[in-house]
Amino acid sequence: MKIWIEKQKHLIDFTLASLARRKAKNLGLLFIYTLLVFVLASVALYTHALRTEAQKVLAGSPEIVLQRLVAGRHDLIPPGYLEQIGRIRGVQKMEGRLWGYYYDSVVKANYTFMAPRDLNIARGEIVVGPALERSRGLAAGNGISFRSYSGELHTFIVAEALPQASELVSADLVLMHEEDFRAFFKYPEGHWTDIAMSVANPQEVRNVALKLMTALPDSRPILRDEVLRTYASIFDWREGIMLALLSAAILAFGIFAWEKAAGLSAEEKREIGILKAIGWETGDVIKMKFWEGLLISLLAFLLGYVAAYLHVFHMDAIVFEPVLKGWAMLYPRFTLPPHIDGLQVATLFFFTVFPYTAAVLVPIWRAATTDPDTVMRG
């Protein structure tokens, strides 16, 4: 065993000396390889953590949200719907929700205004989300005015701000009293944005949704399952822009790595011929090249993954921020708790280390089994 380990160390010594003879090319390859692993690992870590956290916090969202559609577009729930829904067996609890969007021209940002039934907010007061608190410099006791879409100026006093830890779900919220909401948006009395429901038996959610669609043909029930599935597929690497962006980078790197590994230069061929001539066995030449492939690819994987972890969970994925922010002026600041998918890490490891190592070994096999004199003469 000791002899075997000593032999591998000698092979590594020789491999490092060989790599150092083409320092710039090999360092460049290591840098690009590490960068690619960094980008892939960052995307995988970020999307998995975001999906897991979103599913965790949204587990308490309403079981059914009922909307009304007119000509395929969302419209208000008129009076009488709540009474009709109340007659459907299986509906345990229902409440009309009031919420909508407001565009603040001061900071050019969109807010979500909401009138929750469960919070005690006095008339004339609001509770603001952390991103609003930051962007408008608000604190408890401050006043703020919003101009409604009817042109009227409404002034509110900030009662409190929601905790920063909840920013993932509350960043842009403005919570107010129901009467303030109706007065601000000129919402007709008895009308609601939509209806949130809970069902007595969770197994019967789909049946209740079907009954709702039968009783109210212009309604659209949205189930909690659908909400969770939407966020399970968000940022899925198989979809949309992630695959388009990454596939070009992966293909470019694949071509570069294949050219580097599969095409032996005249110098490399001569080197192998000399090694064979001075007594190296075919197996030793192949082991040397194996170490070369493994050292580069394994180091690239380890460095790239660790850098990706630090980037996503200690630097809040700062590289992705411009992509995620888009044209939004209000952007939530949240630190994702790390949820790591072992299968994704293992897959990344497999596709980082094995293909490159194999690509290095394949051309060497032929050169190592050919007569040294023929190889040296090229």
Binding site: V57, H74, T112, T230, I234, K325
Partner: protein, 109 residues
């Protein structure tokens, strides 16, 4: 120092860092457990349906509540013009409903 030993030290450090990321992940998860639970309670209390990921447009702010026409609000063949619209898939429930309708058609229109 022998080159092989230097490389082995580098690998030991990077492999150790790799393992440490999992330890750190467990530590951060434990630290954030109570904040996540408070956030989940807030979601239940307010009846929220979507996290605040993209505030550019209403169909990116609440993708699960958006109707199919939201992204094409300006006119029927309008292109997507918000960058984050390309990151957000259509709501799962809408896609499913449209697939079912196609499969139920027997005679061509």
């Amino acid at each position: 120092m022998r080159p092989a030993h230097r490389v082995l030290i580098v690998f030991a450090i990077t492999a150790g860092s790799f393992v440490l990321t999992f330890v750190d992940a467990a530590r951060l998860r434990a630290q954030s457990e109570s904040a996540s639970a408070d956030t989940a309670r807030l979601v239940e209390r307010l009846g929220l349906t979507d996290p605040v990921l993209f505030t550019e447009a209403r169909y990116t702010r609440h993708p699960t509540q958006a109707d199919l026409q939201s992204a094409f609000q300006d006119h029927p063949v309008a292109f997507e013009h918000f960058p984050t619209g390309s990151l957000v898939p259509p709501p799962a429930g809408i896609l499913k409903a449209y697939e079912n309708l196609d499969r139920k058609t027997e005679a061509p229109d």
